[in-house]
């Protein structure tokens, strides 16, 4: 009888450990547990780029854009921001060269006033050599929209009630 009870207890413990493990795996993929080094290269260079500690409080939206209509990229980012209940405040973007006009359009759509634009892919996982980033006004963006792969990191604050 005691052995049977112990067997059931062990089964319950195994199920519980499995359930906790599943929750842990899900939690690890939630945005608030994002790998912080993502922003480290930008934080070192530009003071307004939010550090990891502040991210959960201030909020951020990341979009890995694989190319396409710039206006669509802006719309997707705007939708993500709205669904998060956040307002865009500043942004970092890294794209293939020649795409700064796209960034201007997107950031203009979002109402971002401070932005860093990196021509060339400086975010390590995109796999190209880093080149210097510059701080720009959205209006300074280039001449022709060139849909291309980009990563946008838009830092944001709580939307006014």
């Amino acid at each position: 009888m005691a052995g049977r009870l112990a067997h059931w207890l062990k089964g319950a413990a195994s199920l519980g450990a499995g359930g906790l493990g599943a929750m842990l795996l899900l939690a690890d993929t939630s945005p608030e547990h994002e790998d912080c080094p993502t922003l480290a290269p930008f934080k070192a260079e530009f003071d307004f780029v939010t550090d990891c500690e502040a991210l959960p409080a201030q909020g951020h939206v990341v979009l890995d854009w694989q190319g396409g209509d710039p206006a669509e990229a802006g719309a997707v980012l705007a939708t993500q921001l709205r669904s998060s209940g956040l307002d865009a405040s500043s942004a970092v973007a890294s794209c293939k060269e020649g795409s700064s006009a796209l960034l201007g359009i997107v950031f203009g759509e979002l109402g971002v006033t401070r932005s860093v634009i990196c021509s060339g892919m400086t975010i390590p996982w995109l796999g190209e050599q880093p080149v210097p980033c510059t701080e720009r006004e959205p209006a300074d963006a280039g001449l022709q929209p060139m849909p291309t792969a980009c990563t946008f990191i838009v830092t944001a604050s709580a939307a006014p009630p």
Partner: protein, 156 residues
């Protein structure tokens, strides 16, 4: 004999793999990193520590899930105790390693990962980024394979 030793002597249950110190430590490492280290001391270590834990815990977790499924679908209907199947352990480890490679190496894999998690848990936001440098942690899967083999040995 202590209560813990008594419990260990009890007939094997499916998913018992998860109740040993090694996977519990791996889970604790992931939890500590996600909830303490990343928010307070972000850096290269916090960027990789969860992946180290995951490369051990995830294959063992999958092997445990497969054990439960096999017991429910095969052993229980035949009213027999759990049969420890090495094939399921190998499948858990192989699938875990392959899945890790796919989501870390290919942006499309990371997006697919997020898509199916979102379908699984509607209303919750998920995020994954392909980062090939995380594959440095992949050899840890070998430790999980070794652990699973040791578990099979001890169950004989």
């Amino acid at each position: 004999m202590s209560a813990v030793a008594n419990l260990a002597a009890v007939r094997r249950v499916p998913g018992e793999l998860l109740l040993r110190p090694a996977p519990l430590v791996a889970a604790a490492v992931i939890a500590f990193n996600d909830f303490c280290l990343k928010p307070r001391h972000p850096g290269v270590l916090s960027g990789k520590l969860s992946d180290i834990g995951l490369c051990f815990f995830f294959p063992v977790f999958l092997a445990a899930v497969l054990e439960w499924a096999a017991w429910l679908l095969v052993d229980l209907p035949r009213s027999r105790p759990l049969v420890v199947r090495s094939g399921l352990h190998h499948a858990g480890a192989a699938f875990g390693a392959l899945y890790f490679v796919l989501i870390k190496l290919f942006p499309a894999g990371a997006r697919a990962h997020v898509a199916w998690l979102t379908a699984l848990v509607p209303g919750k936001h998920f995020r994954a980024i392909a980062d090939p440098t995380d594959l440095l942690c992949l050899p840890i899967v070998g430790l999980a394979v070794w652990y699973l083999a040791r578990e099979r040995e001890s169950s004989r």
